[in-house]
């Protein structure tokens, strides 16, 4: 146990990303990371199932990706900043992703914010 993280398991809705998780989930994290590289991005845009296959994703991982299950991907062990590349390729803003992670529409989420126009 990392002493710096003592008590973090009591913070609900939070999934610390550590080396153990990183080792377990390196394949799907690499899949998203590579979307920032033009060749991988082009393959993803042209033929998404081929991109899943090229990265060797499991059926469970493919379902999470296909469903754009942002919260499910976080719980599974994807690092948020890998997901950020996915959002860029899908032309979604971070606010879209945040709303979906909270189970809200973008409009619902923005209503909870101080300056909803800052989008």
């Amino acid at each position: 146990m990392n002493p710096q993280l003592e008590g973090i398991d009591q913070i609900a809705g939070t999934y610390p990303f550590d080396v153990a998780r990183s080792v377990e989930r390196i394949r799907i994290n690499r899949f998203f990371w590579q979307l920032a590289q033009p060749a991988h991005r082009e393959l993803f845009v042209r033929d998404e199932p081929a991109a899943w296959k090229a990265s060797g994703l499991s059926d469970e991982e493919i379902a999470l990706v296909r469903n754009r299950d942002w919260l499910g991907l976080i719980r599974y062990g994807v690092n948020f900043f890998a997901l950020e590349k996915f959002a860029r390729v899908l032309r979604l803003s971070n606010l879209d992703v945040y709303a979906q992670m909270r189970g809200e529409s973008l409009e619902e989420f923005l209503k909870t914010r101080r300056v909803p126009e800052a989008r």
Binding site: Q4, A12, I26, R30, A36, F81, A87, R91, M101, R114
Partner: protein, 278 residues
């Protein structure tokens, strides 16, 4: 010697760069953010630092988990602007300072601060988002930048105290550099925000104000905090404010805050603060 002329703490939210590129400087929803940077940009234009030493984090752009360094110093003569999935921002490439970077590496490692060294890796929004508001860049940036990347993505992160001590070691290194240079220290990230899990959207302005008070007056109290404390008080991703502690460690014991701006619009408390040595 390289002389420190001051320090800057700043958020590095990617949206700042996006709003800048879309020309939203006068949009009422964004103007309070951009106006908050103007005094810092003026200070930089007036003081003309030769180099910015920039504590930042890479967001899984130029480094991946196959090798994710705890601390890494950029030593090359230039750095490209990163493509983070939606193409590159239209900014000139960033000039490094190989002479100062090599000296920093020598000094840090000989003090047993075993920092990794990288070259020619692109710099992502961790650097380019705030930099585009701080420095003019047409046709080119007015000075050089030495990036120091800190792991705030994959636990174990360096402790807050270690980041503070890194800043102190950087200060000592600068004081032994043979050439006369004016240097400003920049620490990036924060303030409160959480952008993953069901707790996404968490903010805590009361804590942010306390953080801003402590970073100026009593940084050791912050340096003694655990990562879990930062996560609880400011949200999971706000733990990156340990990079402000690196900046703070490089400054003198007593400092004066000469400007500050805090703007919480949607998800991240976007903040900039400018400090001079007392």
């Amino acid at each position: 010697m390289a002389r420190i002329i001051g320090g800057i703490g700043t958020s590095h939210v990617p949206t700042i760069g996006v709003a800048y590129d879309k020309g939203k400087q006068h949009d009422p929803a964004w103007a309070p953010l951009f106006q908050g940077y103007e005094p810092v940009a003026r200070w930089l234009a007036e003081k003309k630092p030769d180099v910015l030493v920039f504590f930042y984090n890479d967001h899984l752009t130029s480094f991946f988990f196959d090798l994710y360094p705890t601390f890494a110093l950029g030593a090359s003569a230039q750095f490209e602007i990163a493509d983070e999935g939606a193409g590159k921002r239209q900014l000139p490439r960033i000039k490094g300072h190989p002479g100062l970077a090599a000296h920093l590496a020598d000094s840090l490692v000989n003090e047993e601060f075993d920092i990794a060294v990288f070259q020619e890796r692109a710099l992502d929004h961790g650097v380019n988002s705030p930099l585009s508001l701080l420095w003019p860049h047409e046709p080119d940036w007015p000075g050089a930048l030495v990036p120091i990347a800190i792991n705030v993505l994959q636990y174990p992160l360096p402790t807050a105290m270690r980041c503070y001590k890194l800043g102190q070691a950087v200060r000592r290194a600068l004081s032994s550099y043979p050439e006369d240079l004016k240097v400003a220290i920049v620490g990036t990230g924060g303030l409160s925000h959480q952008i993953h899990g069901e707790r996404t959207g968490f903010n805590n302005t009361e804590w942010d104000m306390r953080f801003l008070d402590l970073i100026e007056r009593d940084p050791l109290e912050l340096a003694r905090m655990k990562h879990a404390d930062f996560v609880r008080l400011g949200g999971a991703e706000s733990v990156e404010v340990i990079m402000w502690l690196a900046m703070r460690g490089a400054l003198s014991e007593r400092i004066t805050k000469v400007h500050g701006n805090y703007y919480l619009a949607t998800s991240t408390a976007m903040t900039v603060a400018l400090y001079e040595e007392a």
